[in-house]
Amino acid sequence: MTQLALVIDLNVCVGCHACVTSCKQWNTSGEAGPLFDDNPYGKDPTGTFFNRVQTYEVGAFPNTETLHFPKSCLHCEDPPCVPVCPTGASYKRKEDGIVLVDYDKCIGCKYCSWACPYGARELDEKQQVMKKCTLCVDRIYDTSIPEDRRKPACVISCPTSARLFGDVHDPESAVSLAIRESGGYQLMPEWGTKPANHYLPRRKTKLRIHADELVRADNPLSKEDIKHETSKESSLDDWLM
């Protein structure tokens, strides 16, 4: 079983939105038709996006931390949006675990978007079908693209390599190693959706210094030849002298 997924390292993400724009660029240019933008240069611009970068503030001033949080479809292993679809337009591919929408079957009833706790699905106002992240399914298998670039657009564009892409069911893959060894976690685990995408937490490198490490025990400047009357018992020093 293969389950393709993204692993997003929140420790590295700088919130530059490069993944947002590259995702929009790639997915609005494909055969499936544009991601509709309504009033893009007007007063209330709106449009269809597969990916957003959000920003959170953790803690209270002055002990705050800024967290940039890219958010897209998590390609759940038990996706609640798939069984509710009345037409079968929403489906999970057996071969690679990608959750997709068949735009030709979708009736635009929005029920799948109600059934996704993450809000990963958007109704395209122009095409009136449900759209969501496809993991760039029209890119990752395209043999006309150099092999090292057969990755989702967001992964390619990330300047800090905060986004990893691979098979989370292969225990030796880079994504599985990252999840296992860097504390990868899932969003809203309480609903049992088993998201395939994982997030790596913010990590702080701390040096732990104990008090005795600040004092050099074998300091040659300390006067070791002076016998202190600290103990009546013989010590190793007595034997040496």
């Binding site: 709106t46 959000q54 109600w114 958007e122 685990p189 997030y199």
Partner: protein, 323 residues
């Protein structure tokens, strides 16, 4: 959630149609065993035809909810997993059964199907099938909402009870007014049940309001982004303009507005129709009984609006601050 008027009209109109059919069938079934006076076939036929009109109205309303209504036939495909698909199958079955029931009664088709020697066997056989389908449709409609476990306000058996009781109450209410015009003998029967069902609906709706008032949301900002800290605040949702995420999942009104809608429906659906039904039954006034139904139906529109608006979608956790 953002209440869509297409779904509000769909669910309320279906409820009236289904309730009206159940009322007609039950009175006809009682008349066969001489509990109630029998009516001519035209009475049941016309009533069933009106029920059909309510159902067709609901069906038309539902199309306004779809992005691609011309593909609606595809929605029957996934009945094994989707309650919406089951509803899409149940609705035409109910409509077909009610249409057949109307036809059988209108043409007075009689046959001694079971060798019992009583009249109305064909109509009641068709009607019994319609009753099963009607109840199935009630369950399907309600389960569309009750089946989404993280919409905690909906994920309860009370949702099914409310859809059934409020639908049948309004249907029996309409049947009371209909009988006042065409079959005065049946007015006490329909009116009694309209009152009983309205009171039962009041109890279950109050129960669900109480349940929802003390509901504890399972998801939080902490589980949404996976950061263990008591103070997590969104600084930016990642966009300045709105998106589907900001439009579809929130009613966009104040808490006070929501509260006022709650009191409007609590008054319009329960006490006023009960009073009007009581007065209409006492004075045998068709206009008062029709008014009772009209007030209750308008109240149900408010009730359904509130039902949708009250549901808290966990995705809203991700869309708190424009930026």
């Amino acid at each position: 959630m953002h209440p869509a008027f297409s779904v509000i009209f769909l669910t309320t109109l279906l409820g009236v149609g289904q309730g009206l059919f159940l009322a007609l069938f039950s009175s006809q079934a009682y008349s066969v065993v001489n509990v109630l006076p029998a009516q001519p076939g035209d009475f049941y036929a016309l009533g069933a035809f009106i029920a059909l009109i309510f159902l067709v109205g609901g069906l038309i309303a539902s199309f306004f909810h779809l992005g691609h209504p011309e593909r609606a036939w595809r929605a029957a495909a996934k009945w094994r997993t989707s309650w919406l698909s089951r509803e899409v199958i149940a609705l035409p079955v109910v409509m077909g059964a009610i249409a057949l029931y109307a036809l059988v009664n209108w043409m007075n088709i009689e046959a001694d199907l079971y060798g019992l020697g009583i009249t109305g066997q064909v109509a009641l056989s068709v009607g019994a099938f319609g009753v099963i389908a009607t109840i199935a449709l009630f369950v399907c409609t309600a389960m569309i909402y009750a089946a989404i476990k993280f919409l905690q306000e909906w994920a309860s058996p009370l949702t099914v009870a409310n859809y059934f009781l409020l639908g049948t109450a309004s249907g029996f209410g309409f049947a009371t007014a209909y009988a006042a015009l065409n079959a005065p003998d049946l007015v006490p029967f329909y009116g009694g049940w309209a009152i009983t069902l309205t009171i039962a609906g009041l109890l279950t709706r109050i129960a669900s309001l109480l349940r929802n008032a003390r509901i504890k949301q399972i998801s939080s900002m902490q589980t949404a982004i996976g950061v263990r800290h008591n103070q997590v605040r969104q600084a930016s949702m990642g966009m300045m303009g709105g998106a589907y995420n900001t439009r579809e999942y929130f009613h966009g009104r104040t808490a006070d507005f929501l509260k006022s809608v709650k009191w409007i429906f609590l008054v319009l659906v329960f006490p006023i129709p009960l009073l009007l039904l009581w007065a209409g039954l006492a004075q045998n006034s068709a206009s008062l009984l029709m008014l009772a139904f009209g007030v209750q139906y308008v109240g149900l529109l408010f009730e359904r609006w509130f039902f949708f608006a009250q549901a808290n979608h966990p995705q809203n956790l991700y869309y708190q601050v424009v930026g």
